[in-house]
Symmetry: C2
Subunit: 298 residues, 2 copies
């Protein structure tokens, strides 16, 4: 099965206690598609400027990531500049939308037939526009953030009501539903339409919540987090990639997807940009998955 | 097997968004012993003033908690007054040590022969004094807090080096070893002597760390946390009580103890003081344990 990934594509400046990178490849669509590459074929939907390095296109091609709907227009690529002091919270130093301000995803015929769709954290108007272009889908998912929760609520609620899976940070979940208790909050979000809510809790792991079950996935115990940028997106990439590789939405599949998401994110945070994601093999992933299974099995 | 529980015994004022209680039964020794009551016999070691209500002694007796080493001396019982605004962090309004300032645990002969020992969060000088009075023990454990980590470090390190299990909050663990990454920090604490480190992470659950394994236990998904006071102590009570009931220190036993600890703490936080702990049966505990198992099994 194939996965459509919609989101930002960025050239980021990132500084953490372990170093600094300049104009490095980033953005939700990049982290998600690169994280899914060991599981399934994916197509990335996004926009970049004519400054976007040729080597990045080559990297995507090498990883069999379809770029038919990766638009290139004159101008500069979306740029984010951030700094992590304690690795738990990014301080945004600068955001330049650049060509991303003109993003209006138009899918080619091939991409309209993707079975799985991940709508990264972008304007819900655009997320909805992509959903409407799909011919048929098996499973759709979206991510979002505080900016859209407060600023574009009605449209965001429409998206949430139209996807199967909502990926959301715990603080944003509380903001979305206005409830402090996380287990009460997730039930409220569930009532907004999705079949499954995946609550991301940073270094504390994540949990999946449906009508039938709740499942807690810890993080893989990484001893040196170099750069947390893209952790949530790479989690979603591993999760959605595995889901697409299996082709069903059963409880066991979802639980395994949670673990694969966690494993994939653990590789991502061990390097800047996608440096580690691009190197890992399925064997690397399976080795960590086995360790994770032991850490919750009894 | 029998469990010796050493710690504070208090009459607390607690205010949370769900209400307020005045001079209610509390203290680490109370939460821990009451949480262990469904698993094993325990003896509580502590001190109270002559204002300590007779009904509390009766409650302990009803729950087969041995009070031979619960000293009563003229004066007032230890009093803590605190307020929770967001249920995650207590604001201490008042602390009156009262008779607790004179606490100098002297064990009776019966208690010197307990197989399991839990040293609640008190002065490490006293924790060490109790340890030295034990004739033989199978498993010893201690808890501690920031006050002793900064103010009584050498003595605390001696205690830690002499117990099998260290229960510790994640922030206090970071403080103890001076390392931010939690998985690096726990390894450092492990090198201080204990066979097992149990890291408590509040609403995010806990994990156990030994030379052989790491095991993550989520929280039981409580939808209405009424009062988090004693959550850590009741976790330890369920954990140590189960350990004492089984009588070995194998990996499977420890993993089950983590789940029982989590379940016991989940009941505790659903009411003020020990109101819920005193009512629960083994069937109540097993019902939640089954739900918890499902939430991590796949």
């Amino acid at each position: 099965m194939s996965l459509l990934v919609v989101g930002s594509i960025a050239l980021d400046n990132v500084e953490t206690p372990f170093g600094k990178v300049i104009y490095s490849l980033g953005g939700s669509a990049i982290f998600t598609s690169m994280a899914s590459k060991n599981f399934c074929k994916s197509s990335v939907v996004g926009i970049v400027g004519d400054d976007f390095p040729k080597e990045h296109f080559e990297l995507l091609a090498e990883n069999k990531i379809n770029t038919q709907d990766l638009m290139v227009i004159p101008g500069k690529t979306f740029h984010w500049s951030g700094k992590y002091n304690d690795l738990n919270k990014a301080e945004t130093l600068d955001t330049q939308l650049n060509v991303f301000a003109n993003f209006n995803p138009q899918l080619c015929e091939d991409n309209k037939n993707c079975d799985y769709v991940f709508l990264g954290n972008i304007d819900p108007v655009l997320q909805m526009r992509v959903l409407k272009q799909m011919n048929t889908t098996k499973i759709t998912a979206c991510d979002t953030m505080n900016f859209w929760i407060s600023g574009s609520r009605p449209k965001l609620l429409e998206v949430i009501n139209n996807v199967d899976i909502l990926f959301i940070n715990e603080d944003e979940l509380r903001m979305l539903v206005g409830i402090q208790n996380i287990f009460e909050a997730v039930q409220k979000a569930k009532e907004m339409g999705p079949k499954l809510i995946v609550v991301k809790r940073g270094e504390y792991g994540s949990f999946a919540y449906s009508d039938d079950f709740i499942f807690f996935a810890p993080v893989y115990p990484v001893r040196k987090v170099v750069d947390p940028t893209g952790a949530g997106d790479s989690f979603a990439g591993g999760f959605m990639g595995y889901l697409a590789s299996v082709g069903n939405f059963e409880e066991t599949t979802i639980k395994n997807a949670m673990i694969f998401g966690s494993v994939t994110a653990s590789f991502n945070v061990e390097s800047f940009s996608i440096d580690k994601l691009k190197k890992i093999s399925m064997n690397d992933i399976l080795a960590r998955k086995e360790i994770m299974e032991k850490s919750i099995r009894f």
